[in-house]
């Protein structure tokens, strides 16, 4: 793949790449760093992509790995609470606005919700993009919907 094609293909998926990085990192400045690092990694690994039709999941996979690395780096920089110090989640007596509910989801749950509902990606596609088993995608979707239902006071169809 030449640089011009790489550039065109990457820009085609600008919105998806933004949504994935935002859903995982939830901080706009971090998203800028993540996409730059992911594009650099993807360009270096471009020879691993022989089927241009697989560009989208291939690039998203690299981006999610990059985001995971950033999260790990951030976690190392701050002390993790011990289990018994974990903050208990209070039941939501009033419905929470959707945006706030999405923000309250874990990055893993937020990402599968965004990919599935907003991008229309199937479980298998998401598994391919995130590099996790399909069963894990299904369980993350299930728990994410359960969490949203508790916050929104409304269930969401599969």
């Amino acid at each position: 793949m030449d640089a011009a094609t790489f550039q065109t293909e990457a820009m085609k998926h600008k919105r998806l790449l933004w949504r994935v990085s935002w859903s995982m990192l939830n901080r706009q400045e971090d998203c800028d760093d993540a996409i730059q690092e992911a594009l650099a990694r993807a360009w270096k690994q471009r020879n691993t992509l022989r089927n241009p039709r697989a560009f989208r999941p291939w690039l998203v996979r690299i981006l999610t790995n990059t985001c995971h690395d950033m999260i790990r780096r951030q976690m190392k920089q701050k002390a993790l609470p011990l289990d018994d110090e974990a903050v208990a989640i209070e039941p939501f007596t009033d419905p929470v606005p959707l945006r706030e509910a999405i923000d309250r989801l874990s990055p893993e749950h937020r990402t599968v919700i965004i990919l599935h509902y907003l991008e229309g990606a199937s479980v298998r596609e998401i598994a391919g993009m995130l590099g996790i088993p399909s069963g894990t995608v299904k369980s993350r979707l299930l728990y994410a919907r359960q969490n949203l239902r508790e916050m929104l006071h409304e269930s969401i169809d599969d």
Partner: protein
Amino acid sequence: MKKEEFRKQLHAETPEPPDHFELAMQRELSRISAEAQAEAPVRTQPGRIRGGLPRKAILIAMIVAMLAGAVALASTLLKQNVFELILWDSPENADSVIQYDLAKESFDECDVEIKQAAYDGVSLYIVYSIRERGATETLGEYEEETGLYYYGGQTFPAMERDQIGWWTDQFWIDGRDVDMPSMSTGMIVGSDTPGELLFYNMYRLDQEDIYLDGKNVEIALPIGRQQPHDTLVIDRSGDKPVTLKPGKGLITFHLDCSVRDGITITHPNVEADLGTHTAKVAEVTYSPIQMYATMSLQVKQEALDAFTAQYGEGWYDSEGNLMWPYSGMDVFGDWIATLQLVDGDGVPVFDPADLAGVYGLGGYGDNAAWFTFPYLETWPDEMYLAPMDGDTADFTQAVRLK
């Protein structure tokens, strides 16, 4: 909340890419472009490109590629079979399993058609269309390279007015409800026909332990007039709740699924001790469309203990909450992701780059992993799933498949 309603709300609440994100992308892409220009190879041997072909061979290759492109384009314009979008290729046996034009039902403004279906002994493939009869424009964004009309949404106004489209989780086979199986996939595209959306789907029925047989299997999809969910009747008398087939809202067709009579299934079961875990290929199905392999896995407790001693208790979210503890799949995940199908000499049967995004590792858990590979008429006499060590397989970490 309906899926489509949630999607719309989510869309409204999700921020669009800000300018600085686009700028960050453009900056990096410009840097890559500049780097590529600086590194452009100098052609020192007239008539040859680096690692390439003599000029005459390139010319022949170009003509062949142009002819192949013309054939591909003609094929696109005529009809894309279900495999071309699900597997990005049409296996040589495609015609022997695909059945066309299986059902049609008309609503006030739209027609719904089951255009293609196929069963390969493991997976069920279906293409259905929803078309607004009075439409004058095509749906989706046409991409010349692939000949596809990419479509982001899942409905259009006439479809909503007719209240049609997939409306519940399950579908029904011979009256039995089927939950959406793991590793299923699908794609929605427009077509050359104005107002038409095509829904390409593949369902891994084996993941729900469903195997079809017989020449007249009844398949009912919930893509007719949408019915209230509270009209679904759930029978909870057995071990597992069963959603009874509703009387309305389905499009039903019959499919010849007798292909399973002719496929080969083997159970190699040659266990390999790989240090941290044991593995064996428990089942291989050589279908006329794909080869499916199921691997059984068992992590060793001491390996899991060593892993947690080194890396901690499990996966944490960004706020430091334990999401789930480490398990076998974390221990052997890196190994499993590197496996390739190789022959007895350790040579890959397929170029891994050609499998990307479609074949290869489809999913894995603590006790099993699922692989698929393209159809071959003849397979090597001896095959393994193995990581590569340079150009050849590392047989110390291999699991025998054949």
